[in-house]
């Protein structure tokens, strides 16, 4: 019945072990990259990680055994867990003054990302210098843009900003989206936060499968589904597990970076407009059309008569974004 993430656990853990080292801080946030944060924390612990990063204060485990860095910046209106293992990220001068004295703090420096952070020109502000004395300063945090040749540019920016920050106070640098082998070029005490590259770095170890729940043969022009649309040809309607509750058919806005990607997006968009949408489910190596928009926990697919339909209970593959999908089960095979 369910939508399952199958993990080839030996292969996956081999990848984790070969990727992780003591300078890497595993990130466990959001839906846990498909695995769930609870499992990721356990895996990080098994690797030997003494520090883990989470996204928000809600994701801090109840009684953390290791140091937990919270990536979302501290704000005076947030309810904050009181554990001494929590390391806060502060991104504004005012917050450096407001955060309780003695808090463990990373100071985030604004990068070209322009998301959060204290600007490079504010790094010597008297308020910041005085705050270094009232908090337990754990280092500087730098979050860079991703991909698109950004890494070499990131490296240059990282070197410049790191220098500016280290001139104010020597400490650990915590970075994201910098190649792991380049850390030494930025400084001699650098920690790399890693999420996707660690947990999803070897896609070959992961398969997502849905179960066929029902199969009905249909003739061209017959009405099907909630919306009673006519089918476009003879074939089969398949009811498969996986719907909007799992995140199927709800894509995060894609960042179409290249002309080709944009063209594909446009073509898909016009298909969307024509009421046809390609589903993430593949049968006989091809993505199949939705017969209608996905339901909450299942989807209706149209399979043309040229293809032999699977049987009820068969599993079919699908291609989803791990970070936006809630699997019913993660199966460590």
């Amino acid at each position: 019945m369910p939508l399952v993430l199958h993990v080839d656990s030996d292969r996956w853990r081999d990848h984790l072990r070969s990727t992780w080292n003591a300078d890497i801080v595993p990130v466990a946030k959001g839906n846990g990259y498909g695995f769930g944060n609870h499992r990721l924390l356990a895996e990080a612990r098994a690797l030997g990680a003494r520090t883990v990063a989470v996204g928000t204060y809600f994701e801090v485990p109840a009684e953390p055994r290791e140091d937990i860095v919270v990536l979302s910046p501290w704000r005076p209106f947030l309810e904050v867990p009181q554990s001494r293992n929590v390391i806060h990220t502060v991104s504004r001068l005012a917050d450096l003054v407001s955060i309780p004295a003695g808090s463990r703090v990373l100071i985030e420096v604004m990068t070209s990302m322009r998301r959060h952070g204290i600007g490079a020109r504010e790094l010597r502000h008297t308020m910041l210098l005085n705050a270094l004395d009232r908090i337990r300063f754990e280092g500087w945090s730098l979050h860079f843009p991703m991909g698109a040749g950004g890494t070499s540019a990131n490296l240059r920016e990282a070197q410049q900003l790191a220098q500016a920050a280290l001139d104010v106070r020597k400490s650990t640098l915590w970075v994201s989206h910098v190649p792991a082998q380049k850390l030494a070029d930025i400084g001699d005490d650098v920690k790399l936060r890693m999420g996707t590259g660690l947990w999803l770095g070897d896609r070959g170890a992961l398969t997502v499968r849905a179960t066929v729940l029902d199969v009905h043969s249909v003739r061209r022009g017959e009405r099907v589904g909630y919306r009673q649309r006519r089918v476009s040809g003879d074939g089969h309607i398949l009811i498969v597990s996986g719907g909007t509750a799992h995140g199927v058919g709800l894509e995060a806005p894609t960042a179409a970076a290249t002309v080709r990607q944009r063209a594909i997006a446009m073509a898909k968009g016009s298909l969307d407009a024509a009421g046809m949408a390609l589903s993430p489910f593949t049968i006989e190596g091809k993505q199949r059309w939705f017969a209608e928009p996905p339901h909450m926990q299942a989807s209706m697919l149209f399979l043309p008569s040229a293809v032999a339909p699977p049987a009820v209970g068969d599993e079919i593959d699908l291609d989803v974004r791990y970070t936006t999908t809630n699997f019913d089960k993660v199966s460590m095979d």
């Binding site: 704000r75 005076p76 001068l93 003054v97 004295a101 010597r124 308020m127 210098l129």
Partner: protein, 376 residues
């Protein structure tokens, strides 16, 4: 009650009058006129016509010229020095308006040194932590000064316009300041009133071997260098060196010794880590300007120098140590809150003054000036 008379007085007369008062603002000493040398200035004295030799009040007026016309805004910063508890303030203010009108003023701005409300450090700390009241003025005060309301009420009746509420620091003198009361307290009491961080930092500076000393005019240059360094760090426009040289020369050598003006230096192993300007008039002492080095923050020179200035104010018999302006924001999202928190650590109190009041003498010119100031 008949009105007092008013006349121009000499700097000597003015200083002698100030020196005989329990307290007055240093902006009301005759020396301040020399600091603001780009404005024409005048010392005024009030007296009872029956006894012209005896002054009953004094005021320093700075005439600020309006662009393109030979008319002035007459400005009495943190003054005048009169009996603000008088039953009829009109006795002082009517002759003042008459005199200044004749002198070519289109309006008067003054800052009565009259407190209206007070909030203790604890109240402020709780308010910031609670995050429910983003403005100090909305927090229930610990003390309401009766004279504040009386003065404001009288000024309104006499045609004066109350201050406009402004965000951040208004153009004139601050309406909210932070003060540490000294009267009847010992050094130990002062330390006990401070928060843990202040006490720890004062100790730390002492252990690190920070030495605070009183300087002289020869130290102005070094003070200024450090102040420019601070300005670059905190992105404000520093005043030029001659301004401070002029200030020292004018303020430190006033007639009748009406003003005690000092520079303090904090050194660590020969490096200047903090430098400040301290002023006292009667029982009121101020920390006026401060600068600190970017290097060697960990020796806590800023705390050491503040502690010394506070202790010296106590030793000089001052009843108040004034850390000057704070903005009235308690919004933890506002960077200005840092200033109030630094000052709150001293364990003193925030004090609200009645603010700066205006009396238009020429409606059209005053309105034009008001618009000009608001558009700047």
């Amino acid at each position: 009650m008949s009105d007092f008379s008013i006349r121009t007085i000499s700097a000597d007369e003015h200083a002698a009058y100030i020196a005989a008062q329990p307290a007055a603002s240093f902006l009301q000493t005759p020396g301040w006129a020399a600091v603001k040398s780009e404005w024409k200035a005048e010392s005024l004295g009030w007296y009872d016509p029956a006894n012209p030799a005896v002054l009953v009040g004094a005021g320093l007026v700075l005439y600020r010229q309006m662009p393109k016309v030979k008319r002035y805004l007459a400005y009495l910063p943190e003054g005048p020095v009169i009996d603000w508890d008088a039953i009829d303030l009109g006795q002082y203010l009517r002759p003042l308006a008459g005199h200044l009108s004749e002198a070519g003023a289109f309006g008067i701005r003054m800052g009565p040194p009259v407190a209206t409300r007070r909030w203790t450090a604890k109240t402020i700390k709780d308010a910031i932590a609670g995050g429910q009241q983003p403005r100090l003025g909305d927090v229930r005060p610990d003390v309401i000064e009766p004279s504040g309301a009386t003065v404001a009420d009288q000024l309104r009746k006499l045609g004066w316009k109350p201050p406009r509420l402004a965000e951040g620091f208004a153009a004139g003198q601050p309406q909210y300041v932070f003060q540490v009361p000294l009267a009847g307290r010992s050094q130990d009491d002062l330390l006990k009133g401070m928060n843990q961080l202040w006490r720890r930092n004062i100790k730390k500076a002492d252990k690190a071997g920070v030495e605070v000393s009183q300087g002289g005019p020869e130290d102005i240059k070094a003070f200024h260098q450090l102040y420019v360094e601070t300005a670059q760090r905190d992105h404000f426009t520093p005043r030029p060196l001659p301004y401070f040289e002029k200030m020292y020369a004018a303020m430190a050598n006033q007639p009748a010794g009406c003003c005690d003006f000092r520079i303090y230096n904090a050194h660590h192993e020969g490096d200047l880590v903090a430098s400040t300007i301290w002023v006292r008039v009667g029982g009121h002492s101020w920390y006026s300007y401060g600068a600190s080095s970017t290097a060697k923050r960990d020796v806590r020179g800023s705390n050491a120098i503040q502690w010394r200035m506070m202790s010296d104010a106590l030793a000089a018999g001052a009843s108040v140590y004034d850390l000057r302006g704070i903005t009235d924001t308690l919004d933890p999202n506002d960077p200005h809150v840092g200033l109030i928190q630094f000052k709150t650590g001293t364990g003193g109190e925030a004090v609200e003054y009645v603010g700066e009041w205006d009396l238009p003498l020429n409606k059209a010119l005053y309105t034009a000036f008001d618009l000009y100031m608001r558009r700047r």
